[in-house]
C-alpha cells in the first residue's frame, strides 16, 4: 500500500514539474524574442555601444582587441601547439558570412 501511495505521489510531482518546464520554455522563448527585437530596433540599436574607456575600465590587460562582427560570425581557437622555435603559438580565427569584421586595437598606454 505504501509503495502504491509513493507511486501516486511521484506521478503528481512529475505532472507539476512538466507544467513548470513548459512555463520556463515559454518564458525563455518570449525573452529571446524580446532581445532579438531590441537588437533589431533602430531606436535602441543606435545606442548599443560601449566606448574604449568602458573597455579599459573593465579589463586589466594592457593590449585589448575589440572585435566587432555580425551575429553568426564564427570564432575558432585551436588548441595551442608548439611552434617551430619551441615557443607555444596561440591562434584565433574569425570568419563572417554576412558582413566585414572590424577590429579596434586598444593600447592602454
Amino acid at each position: 500500500q505504501e509503495v502504491l501511495e509513493e507511486v501516486e505521489l511521484l506521478k503528481a510531482n512529475i505532472a507539476d514539474l512538466e507544467i513548470q518546464e513548459r512555463e520556463l520554455n515559454m518564458q525563455k522563448a518570449c525573452l529571446q524574442q524580446s532581445i532579438k527585437h531590441l537588437n533589431e530596433d533602430p531606436s535602441s540599436c543606435r545606442y548599443s555601444y560601449v566606448t574604449h574607456e568602458d573597455i579599459c575600465d573593465a579589463f586589466g590587460g594592457d593590449t585589448l582587441l575589440a572585435v566587432m562582427a555580425p551575429s553568426g560570425t564564427q570564432l575558432e581557437v585551436p588548441v595551442p601547439e608548439m611552434g617551430h622555435n619551441g615557443q607555444k603559438k596561440y591562434q584565433v580565427n574569425l570568419r563572417s558570412h554576412s558582413a566585414p569584421i572590424q577590429v579596434m586595437l586598444i593600447n592602454r598606454e
Binding site: 537588437n39 555580425p70 570564432l75 595551442p80 601547439e81
Partner: protein, 33 residues
C-alpha cells in the same frame, strides 16, 4: 603559418553562451592541456 589544430574550440557571435568563451579561456590558461 597556420597551426594544424588537433582540435579547435568554437564560439558563435550572439549565438553561443558566454560559457563557451570561459571554456576557451580555461583551455588557453592550461596551455592547451
Amino acid at each position: 603559418s597556420s597551426l594544424t589544430p588537433s582540435t579547435a574550440y568554437t564560439y558563435k557571435f550572439t549565438g553561443s553562451p558566454s560559457k563557451e568563451l570561459s571554456d576557451i579561456n580555461q583551455m588557453i590558461r592550461q596551455g592547451g592541456v
